[in-house]
């Protein structure tokens, strides 16, 4: 029942294997599981399929696993911030499956929620629809998208209690709650582990049932586009 691990390496023990699918939370560099990603780069696990909205930047976030060439395929909506990604993709070392951002989010939710497939208008008439089943509802064409289930889910939250209940902060929430649901195993890294009962039950974003392992991490929280008014 004890879910708290002392560090990212311990938390990852016996969860990794070559060729596995890992879902990773975060939007850009906001709300990414920094500590777990770095720990994976130390393990040497390879041929990973990574489902994550973005691919980090060259030296941070998932960029760390691109640098070590541990990723064989990305399932993402936008990878524009990463030059190394482009290089590997154009040289054929890396495969990419683009999903529209909302479709990716919904596929993760569906995978976690036991919804095998769902119909959406997103992507109808585009390359995204090619090869997918089309079906009309109320006179409008929809395409069938499938639920996404990962072998492992890595998320970053703000606070956790010892049971694994999580809350996120501001836009660092993003994909994390969905990622947490779609993994067969979910590991969460948080900024603070609070006393049991200290989280408000009405305000918990990810209930403990989704979280199998938990660590307190140290977070750089790098800002990608620092924009201020003068």
């Amino acid at each position: 029942m004890k879910k708290i691990y002392s560090n990212a390496d311990d938390a990852l023990a016996e969860t990794l294997f070559d060729g596995m699918t890992i879902a990773v939370g975060g939007f850009g560099l906001c709300g990414i599981p920094e500590n777990l990603i770095t720990a994976i780069s130390r393990t040497g696990v390879k041929n990973l399929i990574v489902a994550s909205n973005n691919a980090g930047v060259d030296d941070f976030g998932l960029g760390e696993l691109l640098a070590t060439k541990q990723i064989a395929k990305m399932i993402s909506s936008y990878v524009g911030e990463n030059a190394e990604f482009m290089r590997q993709y154009l040289s054929g070392e890396l495969e990419i499956e683009f999903n529209p951002q909302g479709t990716l989010a919904e596929r993760m939710r569906a995978g976690g929620a036991g919804i095998a497939g769902f119909y959406t208008k997103t992507g109808v008439g585009t390359v995204i629809a090619e090869g997918k089943e089309h079906k009309d509802f109320n006179g409008q064409t929809h395409i069938l998208e499938t639920g996404l289930v990962a072998d492992l889910a890595l998320v970053k939250a703000w606070k956790a209690d010892g049971f694994g209940n999580l809350i996120y902060r501001k836009t660092a929430r993003n994909f994390n709650p969905l990622v947490a649901t779609c993994g067969k195993i979910c590991i969460a890294e948080v900024e603070e582990i609070v006393a049991d009962g200290a989280l408000i039950p009405d305000a918990i974003h990810t209930p403990s049932i989704y979280v199998h392992r938990l660590i307190k991490g140290k977070h750089e929280k790098r800002i990608e586009q620092r924009t201020v008014i003068n």
């Binding site: 939007f27 909205n53 936008y78 911030e81 951002q101 479709t103 959406t120 501001k170 586009q225």
Partner: protein
């Protein structure tokens, strides 16, 4: 005579009505928030999980956990609510966002939009653009009327991979405002001293 970026944004801001929930794309559309008319209360959605997006922060209030869909640091307002990405696109896909104002590379006379990819050249991904054009109530595009070589970007049909088919309602270029109607693009408004003859030379789409 033609409009500059800020004038296009100012013109686009006139599309906003009181009480609207609006998503602004990256680039010129972001500037629209500088020109929201007095007395018009608009709530901005950021598709990474926020309703009620405020202005950029100061150095003192900057927060790494608070960014917009362009990954820029922003602030919250007294109306702000945060949610996850599935809930964000549920809102978008479910038609709850009244209007999206987006950039474009090409638009066809039937309202097809291409704004995410140039084969072998620009392969960054579509982000949330396909979901937005498929789900939002009204799609307004802001774009230059021609490309850097002076070639038309309002076309009979798009040459680039589509973001969505029959999705654009209104186009605002540096030359004027155009609506997608049954037989082509209807001229709604022209920039000062721009004539329909001027348009003919730089527009491939049928103008009605």
């Amino acid at each position: 005579m033609t409009w500059d970026r800020n004038q296009m944004a100012e013109r686009a801001a006139k599309e906003l009505k009181d009480g609207m929930y609006v998503n602004l794309g990256i680039g010129i559309p972001t500037l629209v928030s500088n020109y929201i008319p007095d007395g018009v209360d608009v709530t901005l959605q950021s598709e990474n999980g926020m309703l009620g997006m405020g202005p950029f922060p100061t150095d003192e209030t900057i927060d790494a956990d608070l960014i917009n869909a362009g990954k820029q640091t922003i602030t919250e307002l007294d109306r702000t609510a945060y949610f996850d990405s599935a809930d964000s696109f549920a809102m978008i896909r479910g038609g709850k966002i009244n209007m999206a104002i987006l950039g474009a590379m090409e638009v066809s006379e039937t309202g097809d939009l291409a704004n995410w990819m140039i084969p072998n050249k620009l392969i960054k991904g579509m982000g949330g653009a396909m979901d937005l054009v498929a789900g939002v109530g009204r799609v307004v595009v802001i774009m230059d009327h021609v490309n850097k070589k002076g070639e038309a970007k309002l076309l009979k049909s798009c040459t680039l991979p589509l973001t969505g088919k029959n999705v654009v309602d209104r186009i605002i270029t540096n030359y004027g405002v155009f609506d997608v109607v049954k037989d082509g693009l209807k001229v709604i408004e022209l920039a000062d001293n721009v004539s329909r003859d001027d348009l003919a030379a730089i527009t491939q789409a049928n103008l009605v």
